[in-house]
Symmetry: C2
Subunit: 271 residues, 2 copies
Amino acid sequence: MSSAAKTLGLLAYFSITRPEIGLSQMCKLAGRDKATTYRHLQALEDAGFVEQNPTTKLYRLGPAVLQLAQTREVTVPRKAGAEHALMVLAEATGETSHVSVLSGSTIYALTSCESPKHSTRAIIDINTFPLHATASGLCALAFGPPDLIEYAINNLEAFTATTVQTPELLKETVDTIRQSGFAWSGGALEIEVQGLAAPIFDHTGLLAGSVSVASVATRFTPDLQEIIQRNLIIASREITRNWGGTIPDSLEAKWARSLSNTNPQLLEFSK
Amino acid sequence: MSSAAKTLGLLAYFSITRPEIGLSQMCKLAGRDKATTYRHLQALEDAGFVEQNPTTKLYRLGPAVLQLAQTREVTVPRKAGAEHALMVLAEATGETSHVSVLSGSTIYALTSCESPKHSTRAIIDINTFPLHATASGLCALAFGPPDLIEYAINNLEAFTATTVQTPELLKETVDTIRQSGFAWSGGALEIEVQGLAAPIFDHTGLLAGSVSVASVATRFTPDLQEIIQRNLIIASREITRNWGGTIPDSLEAKWARSLSNTNPQLLEFSK
DNA sequence: TGTTATCGGTTCATATATTGAACCCTTATT
DNA sequence: AATAAGGGTTCAATATATGAACCGATAACA
């Protein structure tokens, strides 16, 4: 592992629930020596990625990240192009909704929206979504680059008793998703949490990310599932358009087929 | 120089005007070997800080920076606390206004606001402000940590013919600023651009950043200067309050003295 | 008030990770 | 068909990262 990678890795320990970290705590978190960790933090500080709270000596994220984020969002305005659709999706389903982006072999959480409808909500407080254990991840496997599945097979971490554990079952699952046009994942990351996702495409015509809805097992009825699927289609279309892409006709056909047995004209109407 | 520092340094080459950079161009920009640069970019890509445009192979900033920025802004909500005051400042002066933050020995541009009043505007498209050649930088030297001036003296880069070049002149300039409560810099970074700045403080009681107005030489009359100064005071007070700090009484006194010869009651009124 | 533990920061010999010239492969240009 | 330019890779040479031990300050404690 390169020293640069280790240095960059330190940044991932900062979060909203843990916004400031001292040298000793960072050593424990990163599992590395104090001198090493100190030098890494120095490098980050020199570059403006962290700064020290002058009174407590604790480290926190620095101002440089704001500029990078600004540049990124101006260059690739993904977040802004997803927010409206995500709000509508959360509103229509009454469930927490997420948009994630695929970068390399990793699914990054981009933004999320909670619905106030229920007091029990599926809160996913992670930065990256495992490919094999989330609806968003499975969606990327089904509609994303073909080599992604190899990567996933080599990282089949077991989060719960129902997490997919064999390459065969993973491939089977992905095949089912390809046919239905929706990814489903139930209790594979956290027991009780049910996820449904649809792919998002950009101007390259390739998968750029996923939009998903996370619900809780106790209220995940067939009725709710259908509502979620219909609204995922709407959200996926809108975000895909905002990101400069188009939904492949073959996928639209799969969606139509998936929902045709219930109420086909609703689907057409929403197009 | 550590390899981590070199790696992090690559990120600074991305900007709104140069959002995507190929391997070769990055080598030229960074002045380093292709193999080295490639590995650095790989490390950044693994961490999600850059991603490759799949069609052109060009590198651009990745999604990880968005999450860091979100965490930073939740932790230290500087940007949100500056935006309103900045808009008012741009509106009142008819000039482009900036807020910058001091982190370590560097002044980072946080956010800016352009006024539509004039078609010629001072556009400052840089991420970090030189300490000795901008009003914001001089402001930090005058009201920030004492050791900053040593750092500035060792980095007296000459941008124009009028950039301060000697330690003596720099110290003299800083002294003047300390007495007036306002920093002024004319044509030191870019000829034609005139800047005026006031300090911002946070909850630690130390200087946290500067608020500044950039105008163009041709319309920088004494009248405009007074308008800018009055509105800088208002902006500095508001942002300082939002950042959890207070303006030192001694500074308020200096501001009052600086403007007393013209129209003292206006100052009191705006307090 | 003296003792101990914790924390941020520093040093230096050791050894490991970084470096860059040269190389390959593909694509675009002439 | 030859050439140039860009992305990506290899391997010996060596510059750079590492961590045990140490320092000084502060806070907890008896």
